[in-house]
Symmetry: C2
Subunit: 447 residues, 2 copies
Amino acid sequence: MKRIILLGSGLSATNLIQYLLNHAEEHDWHLAIGDLNTEVARRKVKGHPRGSVFQFDIFDDALLTSVVSGADVVISFLPASFHPRVAAACLDARVHMVTASYVSKEMMLMDEAVREAGIVFLNELGVDPGIDHMSAMRVIDEIRRRGGTMVSFKSSTGGLVAPAYDNNPWHYKFTWNPRNVVLAGQGVSQFIRNGLYKYIPYHKLFDRLLHTTLPGVGEFEIYPNRDSLKYRETYGLQGIPTMFRGTMRRPGFSEAWNVFVQLGLTDDTYTLENSQHMTYREFVNAYLRYDPEKPVEEKLCDYLGIDPDGEVMQKLRWLGIFDNRPIGRPNATPAQILQALLEEKWELEEGDKDMIVMQHEFIYELKGNLKRITSSMVVIGKDSEETAMSITVGTPVAIAVKLLLTGKISLTGVHTPVIPHLYNPILDELETFGITFTDEEEEYQAP
Amino acid sequence: MKRIILLGSGLSATNLIQYLLNHAEEHDWHLAIGDLNTEVARRKVKGHPRGSVFQFDIFDDALLTSVVSGADVVISFLPASFHPRVAAACLDARVHMVTASYVSKEMMLMDEAVREAGIVFLNELGVDPGIDHMSAMRVIDEIRRRGGTMVSFKSSTGGLVAPAYDNNPWHYKFTWNPRNVVLAGQGVSQFIRNGLYKYIPYHKLFDRLLHTTLPGVGEFEIYPNRDSLKYRETYGLQGIPTMFRGTMRRPGFSEAWNVFVQLGLTDDTYTLENSQHMTYREFVNAYLRYDPEKPVEEKLCDYLGIDPDGEVMQKLRWLGIFDNRPIGRPNATPAQILQALLEEKWELEEGDKDMIVMQHEFIYELKGNLKRITSSMVVIGKDSEETAMSITVGTPVAIAVKLLLTGKISLTGVHTPVIPHLYNPILDELETFGITFTDEEEEYQAP
């Protein structure tokens, strides 16, 4: 019997657990799930005879060592900062490891030792990073095979509420870690466009949008997603004139979100000494000029040049950000105060489904002609447990684990799924789960 | 003979050294100056029989111990981050210490041990912090003595070029650490106004200006200077409805500087991988939208809403920021690239003099009436060595050292000059050096 250890059983682990248990009998697997809180894991295992649950604390070194030593593969769905601890234990015990997270510097430094141990650490096997890499590299490799040269690559992903449940003026609900959404984009975003490097500071990010349409689900806007430059190396596209990665939101979201950025409400670096005794209205007012008479709304519109009767103000009013309702949180950062309000308003309601959208645009030259391939994916969640996020993060990880345990992966070292040996079997099987890309190819005229 | 050790002999130490040597014979002092580079110190000592110079490296622990052990007082003019090392050595050797810098957390934690050792560590004895504290506290204490209650305190300082040498469109030259000027204001600025907390993120800082006039030297604009709130405790003004600290520039400076902030050119957190092969024009273009045809100037004016024929563009053109001249610095941060250009253009020319301006506005209530005191200081440098910065930073430190060595300071522990025992004798003697405040008092009508 092969022993699979899963550490962490949170939101995105549902479909992973389901897949592994569904295939456990066939391949003679046992899945043991470790979590601080065993209740959620127990609910997801549903009494399956091939599954078990144990209490797990990443800070208990002896426990980690003993858990890992008996395993054939360890999957870490813990917060990404804990992966190196797990990786070190796996290396000691010569056990394969799989994660859905970015390869950290610490993980990368283990590459040689992992290779020498004859094992493999597979990473970036979720949706973003994960399905984005795999689907992009399959098309890029195919373009190369046909003799084409990539001249532009743009890739965007979004986690949103599914259209049928999209019933608020922001056209957005939290389908993923709210804190990451509030802090998204801080620092500088960088990409390259027609050979020119472009850098966008955070306070300008939500003002520098692209726009696109996805078949069947309508229009989206795209804001730049951090460092697009490093992906040139990941994808073997050194020297490509245009390389851009973005985050998708529904049209109008970014203009309204930008109000929070401009005011400074997404700052997480200091606390407000009086936050406990403030109302949301006073919170907004703390970021506006003093005026003995003008109401907060009028000052805000004057300050940022907002139409008092427009959609931005409609979105802000809907959130209740001008309400004289107490915040009730002591020593909170602006970002924490904003997040608490958003969590009330942007919560998925009973029965709501989420949606993951992804779109790549490849422009390449072939025999003197420019061509464009647009490749789009839409995944809608099944219910509040089997979310689109859980389906798209958990399924590729699960498939990779299966490939590993059935001897289909002949790799050692630290890897991501940018090679055909990994992306082909995973993408092929993902299609059976309805995770598919619709490709359109056309002649392209440079504008 | 009393032995004074001065560590660091940089820009602001000239007048300190001069004062101590001038009084050395009278009080039987010897001044020994330690610096990595002994040449500057030697030039400043000018062969004075009561002065000597030695090579000093703060990372040489044995040297630090031996230097401190023979001293009656140690003055640290090293970069502020090194003060705690010096302080620890002084504490061990039970030797007084004096600095012009803010009391760091590490220094504050030594307070009890310093008191128990029967010695005193005097800090914040320069101009800002230093003269600002002393001059403000003298007025505040006097208002209290007369039975008044402070309702508003605003205090601003600026280091600028003296009016007679103010010959560029920015009305600014570097008279102090250029790096600090380029990075000034990053983070959040906070103050309180009529009982309302106000927070300004960096990208809005140079858009939130006050204006003032100083007798004899004309008009200034003021932008908020970081955390004004903590000064309520420093000055014993807990509960004051309005507390604001600011930095003074000539009118028009901030609007043009804001262009750099808005573009992101003052960011020091990442490097441009292509900076070595870029021109300044390409550098600016990297922060603007891609456009196949529009020139950089036009894109900038469109992006930030700047008048193409206005004063802001005149200032930017004067700097050469649009020139196709190579930057020639590999892996530079945006802030480093900007600083290198500014250092060429904002350098003090031969014969130029600098200026320090400071202004406090005190509003207080006395027997039901509001009154306002405006207290202004202007100090002009004498030459390129005896700058206003050196005069105002070095002289109060020197006076404090004299008071200490002549037994006029009966304190132990870590202190700043917010108490009459310190500020009265120092301010009185500063007047003999022309460092004086002009006070105006008037009835005040709340607007």
